[in-house]
Symmetry: C2
Subunit: 388 residues, 2 copies
Amino acid sequence: MPDVIPHDSVGLVSPRTQHFDEPLTLRSGRVLPQYDLVYETYGELNADCSNAILICHALSGDHHAAGYHSMDDKKPGWWDSCIGPGKPIDTRRFYVVALNNLGGCAGSTGPTSINPETGEVYGPDFPIVAVRDWVQSQARLADVLGIKQWAAVVGGSLGGMQVLRWSIQYPERVKHAVVIASAPKLSAQNIAFNEVARQAIAKDPDFHDGWYHKHGTIPKSGLMQARMLGHLTYLSDDAMREKFGRELREGKLNFSFAPEFEVESYLHYQGEKFSTRFDANTYMLMTKALDYFDPARDYDNDLVKCLSQSKCDFLVVSFTTDWRFAPERSLEIVNALTHADKNVSYACIESTNGHDAFLLPIPRYLNLFHAYMERVATSCNLPEVAHE
Amino acid sequence: MPDVIPHDSVGLVSPRTQHFDEPLTLRSGRVLPQYDLVYETYGELNADCSNAILICHALSGDHHAAGYHSMDDKKPGWWDSCIGPGKPIDTRRFYVVALNNLGGCAGSTGPTSINPETGEVYGPDFPIVAVRDWVQSQARLADVLGIKQWAAVVGGSLGGMQVLRWSIQYPERVKHAVVIASAPKLSAQNIAFNEVARQAIAKDPDFHDGWYHKHGTIPKSGLMQARMLGHLTYLSDDAMREKFGRELREGKLNFSFAPEFEVESYLHYQGEKFSTRFDANTYMLMTKALDYFDPARDYDNDLVKCLSQSKCDFLVVSFTTDWRFAPERSLEIVNALTHADKNVSYACIESTNGHDAFLLPIPRYLNLFHAYMERVATSCNLPEVAHE
């Protein structure tokens, strides 16, 4: 809980909900007859609507990217380190839109919503959504908000995949694309990790094939295991060594199967916390969207041809110890963009924090991100802000 | 099933069982009043008992390291690529002993054995064993077999840890130590992977806190998940890309949660197979032995001081794409041995096969291993064998 709102925070914010009546035909062929998107905005949209930034969230993210919902909040939004007055995405210059994706569990229509066709909770009947479906729904939200072209579409991890998709799906509507700690598609290893996580959920007896709502259960144990595994892949070996080493909770071996190394307790804690706040069907869906993402597939598996569709400038950022989406994966994007004659800036940031680094206030990262966003502002002819 | 036994195979072999009545006090303080060790031998022990090689197995291994139990066997023992006439561990020169470790589930006393104190299956009451306990029990087996000193103690992964432990626990009894794809202790990340695997087993409702025998159940789903995760960490990202890429079983996306990428089917298959052959309590124990291994702890956390106890020569081998026990971990051992003025040879073998490489017939690896074992034979004054 902040005693006072920090001066570089967007302050107290409230989500809004936009209802859509026009049916959305999904990649799978299924149709969502109607849906809600919950979103937040920070900063002011200027008169010619040229200063709008779209934030795309990752697997477990949502629309609450910055600021506080109340003075009782223990933490600000998930990307508060990068969004706010004076921060890389400076809300004195930009109008920022962050939404919860379709299939999510933070307010947008998803497995926990009521299926209008049955009057009951969707549960596992909620269709599997693809990254392109999210992008289409985000474009409709942009229409409602009067945003013809985003000054930038920005995202990390699965969020970065949405950015790539935006750049080829609506090339006229994106001026800059910021793709952080992402990849042009998952590797077999990435898919395998996702499948192990899904198995943990699917095999939890409280999952009931996704119908846990009807059974009054929550597959906490499965979600906890999935999150423990996810967390493991977000952290680097180095970060874990620095943070935990082989420290024992009680200073000695227990010769029991209870968590006794600090790293075990930490993962248990993270897993427990997640299992009470996140929806299992949503977790399943989000990992499938990750697995399916492969925009080059529609272009003879040629990423150059694929990204040639785009018309924007790109910033691509990776982190040295990120092994979930290693720097080599970002370089695949950079190389394809270069071959496609696109304007691309690339930085690989030194960090021990693994994939998680993209959420952290690493000075070199923030500086570089800030500098790029200044370039975005200049290219959009946004007025300067007074430096403090 | 081999139609004929290959000429470079040890042929048909049979396990033997050695019973021990002398109680064994374990690292945990608990005492095993009596126990059996099941083992196999290949080749002939020479008159002065100077040509004996001990093979230490890894997490899911056992005493069946080479040859066939019957003409119906589909596969030979787990390290058949390295043990046999003309192979790196040449059974024309060496007498090879391979055993199933205490706590195992292939015949040696473990969780599936009868607890003589209760007359019932040990189950989860079987004590957690440490690497030093295995080494002590292996030394007792050596006593029975009349082997005062091993020409070499050899092992990969968790097997390599037993080799290290042998070298400091019984320095007079080891002439050469061969430590392959191993580490001086687990990293926090390694421990975390083990804990996620244990959680998968422990949370399986068929596990019943380890008393599944009493309930007539088998925690197949938990074991399957644990194995899927284990397998993931044994393979490299490169190996998975080469083997599976993003190939789809049915050539197209299903938009369902059934396994649809080849890599998912493969892991399911491996997991299923393992879950019917391996004991869950043993899996729990073995991963704990891995977590606990840290011989330097008794020497002020100084690996140089620790390995200074040893009197043997060392061969240390790592593999380029092994990320479970990366080459850097082998180098920690090599550097400590060098600082301790020990005679150590080291090779890092180019391979795309990840941790699994140590089980595979990679020519450079086999050649180098072979050359080192010739040196072992020479240092033990073993007679030459005629080259075919």
